[in-house]
Every structure is written in C-alpha cells, then in structure tokens.
C-alpha cells in the first residue's frame, strides 16, 4: 500500500467517524454558546460544518482524550430539552458535579466567556432532565505544553440561563425558518489576541461569501 493511500484512508476514517449525532431540527448547546449565531444558522441551513485537515486531526485528538473519564460516573451524556441538544462530558449524580473538558493549545487563566455560557446551558439541560448541578468546572488540557488547569464556572441563576438559552435558540430557529443570516460577530479571542474568532470558524468561507442570505458554492457543470 502506498503512503498516500494510507493518508487517504486516515482522513476518510476520521471524517466517517463523526462525533456528532445532533438530532435533525435541533440546535446544539455548542452552536448556541458561540457569540456569533451566524455560524449556527449556516451549519443548520447548509448541513455542512467545514473543517480543514488540521482541525480534523485536532478534533480527533480531542475526541480520543474525551474517552478518559475523570469522575468515573456519567460520561458523554446526551440530553435534549425544547429543541436544544447537548452532550455533557461528565456528570456525577452523587456529588452533582458537572465537568466540561477542553483540549487546546492555549489554556486561559479564566474560563472563556463562551465556555462558561456553554457549561451553564448544559446545566439547564441537566436540571430540566431531573439532574441537579451544584458545581461546574472546565478542565483545560494543553495538548502541546502538556499541562492541565481546572477552572470553576460561575453559575448563572438557572432561570436566567434558561431564558437566555431559549432566546438564542428562538433567534437561530427564526433565522433558519426564514433563511436570514444573523450579523457576523467578528471579534478577537481576547484582549491583545492576534486572531479573531473567525480565524477558527469552520464555516468561514460560506459566511464571508454570503451577506444576508446563504450563498453556497455552485456545483460544477460542464457549461
């Protein structure tokens, strides 16, 4: 077998082994957690979540790392509530601890805003499914420098988190229904950062090729 064939099989295997099983018509907590809802609408409308080979490999590493349980309790807990889908990394039904794991190459000193939002939304899903939460953490693992940092997540009042989740879900579904793309939210990751969130966005090309409605690449024809 030629090396190129092995590379081809490798990427096919990674793409075929999709970690997502989001039910059709639902919006995921991850999609709702990003400041930019445009990405969520594009992903749902186009059915694509573009990813480059580097991103694919990083996702694969992250997925493999997720397989190691910290709490040895409930893992990869798939939950749904009111059209919102979420997969909770780890939850302990005895101590009511919720953990979300992030495998990155840059560990922040404070929980990133959208990660905090994501974890609070997971809490809503858990509570609505009869699983109370008393503590929440993000476990950041730097896969390059090889170190771990555990940061507690401040709990939003449950009603507030629920209202925010519902409001964002409604915005996304309204846009999906009418085919309107919400505005882009171009912003830097954090103060002093060189790159914007758009630099890492999986739907970057479709987003910037489109304005108010979705523009997908035209299929190739002889004419």
């Amino acid at each position: 077998m030629r090396p190129e064939e092995i590379v081809e099989k490798f990427y096919s295997a990674l793409l075929g082994d999709s970690p997502y099983s989001q039910p059709k018509g639902s919006v995921s907590v991850t999609q709702l957690s990003f400041p930019c809802l445009r990405r969520a609408v594009i992903e749902i409308l186009s059915g694509i979540s573009g990813i480059d080979p580097g991103g694919l490999i990083r996702t694969w590493i992250g997925k493999k790392c997720h397989e190691t349980s910290i709490l040895k309790k409930k893992m990869e807990l798939e939950l749904q509530w009111e059209g919102v889908y979420g997969r909770v990394d780890e939850y302990d039904p005895d101590s009511f601890v919720l953990i979300d794991k992030k495998f990155t190459r840059s560990v922040p000193s404070e929980v990133r805003e959208h990660h905090a939002r994501q974890v609070n939304y997971y809490r809503v899903l858990l509570e609505k499914n009869g699983m109370p939460v008393s503590e929440m953490y993000v476990v950041y693992v730097d896969v390059d420098a090889a170190f771990v940092r555990v940061l507690p997540v401040e709990m939003m009042p449950l009603e507030e988190a629920e209202a925010e989740l519902v409001e964002r879900r409604d915005r996304v579904l309204e846009c999906v229904k009418t085919g309107i793309l919400p505005p882009r939210e171009v912003r830097f990751w954090e103060e002093g950062a060189r790159r914007t969130v758009c630099d890492y966005c999986s739907v970057f090309s479709v987003c910037f090729a489109s304005d108010i409605t979705l523009v997908l690449p035209k299929p190739y024809t002889e004419e």
């Binding site: 915005r171 846009c175 009418t178 304005d211 108010i212």
Partner: protein
C-alpha cells in the same frame, strides 16, 4: 337668540360614531382582531346577526359589513372578542331563489389570541397596548364611507397572501437579529427570498418606517 345659540354651542359634545366599514371590494382580505360584537339592529330578534368591530394588525379600527354569509362563517368558526380572524372576499355566489341578492362569499379563518400573538413575534408596542373591549368602541370620526386607499402606493392586496406572509416573517426576523436594519439589507433579503411585495407595503402594514437608510418600528 344668538347668545343662547352660542351658550348651547359651547356646551355641545360630539356624538359618537362607529368605525368605518371595511370595504371588501377594495380590500378583499382582512386580517386582524375582533374588538367587539354588536347585534345588528336590522336583523331578527330571534336570529340576530352581528356587526363585528375589528382592528387590523396595525391597529386601525373598522367594522365588517353585515353580510349573512360572513357573519355565519365567523360564528361557526368560533370567532369572538379577542380572537384573530382572516376574511377573504372571494366573489358573489348564486342566488338561492328568484328574489334577493347574490350572497357575498368568503374564506374565513379564526385563531385564538394566544396562538396569534405567539405567532406575531415582537408586535409593535402600540398594538400590544390595545386590549379588546367589552363594549363597542365609539370612534371620534363621524360615520362615513371608508376612505379610498391612496392609489399611488402599491397595495398589499395586489400580492399573494403567501408572498406577503413570507415577507412579513423575513422582516420580523431581520428586526430581531439586526438592531440597526439597513434599508438595502431589508430589500436584498426580500428580493433574495423571492418576495415580490415592495418594502414600502410592509412598512405601511407592519407599522415600520424607513429613516436615514434604516428600517425601524414607527
């Protein structure tokens, strides 16, 4: 005599009146809410017919003309004060016998207040404040024929209901996600989704205004 006249004139109060009748010949479709039901004094005591006082989605008050078929259809579908209705005049039917007039035929739909208001995302504030009233509303305007619509502007009824509903939904979404909605963006969105109704018609019907290149709630 003149002084008595002046005295009486100074004490004079305007009489009430009812809202103008909705002219189904000019505007075949009516969409709005029932604000009052009054017994038509010309109808039989045993089998009364109703005059329906209504309010458009933009808050304009009208009375639906007293047509037997329309009144029956509304009541059969459970229309009452507070509910939202759709009445579409589809033409004249055949006479039942030799005498009488041709009946006016309608398509009618009735929707509960809850369902309709859930559907009307973020209605204009002025509209939200207006509650249905138990008593018929007395308008300041004297009873008169409905004023003809300004002909220069494109009229909503020239366009299909589906097209209009689609455009309304698009504009509601735009206003939800774009705090400062550019006029050009709104036009592009309507055009891009194949809506043929011009933006100005929506502005008129949805209580919006175009100001400084931005579309805003009036």
């Amino acid at each position: 005599m003149e002084s008595l006249k002046e005295l009486l004139k100074s004490r004079a109060k305007p009489t009430g009146g009812f809202a103008p009748f909705w002219d189904f010949k000019q505007n075949p479709e009516f969409v709005g809410r029932v604000v009052a039901m009054r017994k038509d004094p010309r109808s039989d005591e045993d089998n009364p017919r109703y005059l329906w006082d209504v309010e458009t989605l933009e808050g304009e008050k009208y009375t639906l003309p007293s047509y037997v078929v329309l009144d029956q259809a509304l009541r059969e579908q459970g229309a009452e004060v507070g509910k939202y209705i759709y009445a579409h005049f589809i033409g004249e039917g055949k006479k039942a016998g030799r005498g009488g007039r041709k009946p006016f035929l309608f398509e009618v739909a009735v929707m509960s207040q809850e369902e309709a208001e859930a559907h009307l995302k973020a209605p204009p504030k002025a509209e939200r404040r207006k509650k249905p009233e138990a008593e018929p509303k007395v308008e300041e305007k004297p009873k008169e024929e409905p004023k003809p619509k300004v002909e220069e502007k494109p009229k909503a009824e020239e366009y299909s209901k589906d097209d209009f509903d689609k455009g309304r939904s698009i504009l509601n979404t735009l206003l939800l996600v774009y705090p400062e909605l550019e006029e050009a963006k709104a036009r592009k969105a309507l055009e891009g989704q194949g809506v043929k109704v011009p933006l100005e018609v929506f502005c008129e019907k949805m209580g919006l205004k175009i100001e400084g290149g931005k579309v805003r709630k009036a």
